[in-house]
């Protein structure tokens, strides 16, 4: 077997892998990714609260329980406002800072899903949700939106 022939086999093998790789990307992935473009320029004028990666850890002392049921802490920050959320199977318990009355909305790729009022100290509770989500927040400081994340 010549080296040139071996190289042909190698190329064919990689071509096969490339074609199968493309077939394996399911239609649902492509459709969801394409639909994301509908969010172009939606809420573009709102300040985005970025996800604080360092804070996104399982609760201290709960590491043993990592798995379904253990709460997850998410922290979103902007210049004037921050939102902290603890997520578990029963839903979300959150805190808007600075504390004050306002509204928080769960938004999925399909649009706003549920809105709740915050109490006078900025606390709020939301029902369970999953998938790609973001929170919209209205408070005395204005309107804000968090980064997208996966629950």
């Amino acid at each position: 077997m010549t080296a040139a022939h071996w190289a042909d086999e190698d190329l064919l093998c990689e071509l096969g892998a490339a074609l199968r790789e493309e077939e394996q990307v399911e239609v649902g992935f492509i459709r969801a990714a394409r639909m994301a473009f509908a969010w172009r320029n939606v809420d573009a004028e709102l300040e985005t609260l970025g996800l604080d990666a360092g804070r996104d850890l399982a609760s201290p002392g709960r590491v043993r329980g990592t798995g379904p049921g253990s709460p997850r802490l998410l922290s979103f920050h902007g210049e004037r406002v921050s939102v902290e959320v603890e997520v578990d199977e029963s839903g979300m318990v959150g805190q808007l800072t600075p504390p004050g009355p306002g509204e928080v909305t769960v938004i999925t790729a399909g649009g706003p899903q549920v809105t709740v009022a915050t109490d006078e100290v900025g606390g709020f509770t939301l029902p369970p949700t999953s998938g790609a989500i973001r929170l919209g927040c209205t408070c005395p400081a204005g309107h804000f939106i968090t980064e997208w994340t996966t629950l």
Binding site: L19, A36, W39, A53, G67
Partner: protein
Amino acid sequence: MGSATVVSGLVRASADGDPQAWNELVRRFAPLVLAVTRRYQLSAADAQDVSQTVWLRLVEHLDDLHTPDALPGWIRMTAQRECGRYVRSGRRTVPVDPHSGSVIQQPVTADLDGDMLRTELRQALRDGLAELPPREQRLLRLRAADPPKSYQEISDLTGMPVSSIGPTLGRCLKKLRQTHAVRTYLADDSDQRKPGRRWST
């Protein structure tokens, strides 16, 4: 025009609101997002959620990509971070040792640079194949199938004499190497680690 330049053009057009350009970005980079989710062993449903988050974020970051050529790296990093968060969040089903109660660590291979290069190579091969005439594409697809079709099966399917299949296949592969997409991939930079180098000459 290099593939990096093509990607830059697609990023700019998407930022200007062109849905076709966005769809093309999705077509090119969906396999990369999927490759990252597989490294983290996410189920199909979890992978789809993470993938959607990555694309939703990208929609809002198109304007911030100061060097649009950095897009593949941005996608890979964002997918990687989101997979890491998701795995740590415990939403994913994680095996737990029944005796100690501790989480059984699953291997997460970190060869993401390798993933990137392979994703680029495979995209170049798919693009290169698309440049060939349909007859040649079909022959290559039949032979690249898993398992590959035998010369006899290819002959039955295409009507080509068995004796001519080998030489024709050789010519088709040579043409594939010479397509714009594959030449661009191999010439794009001088990274000798690129997969595919060994069959480039």
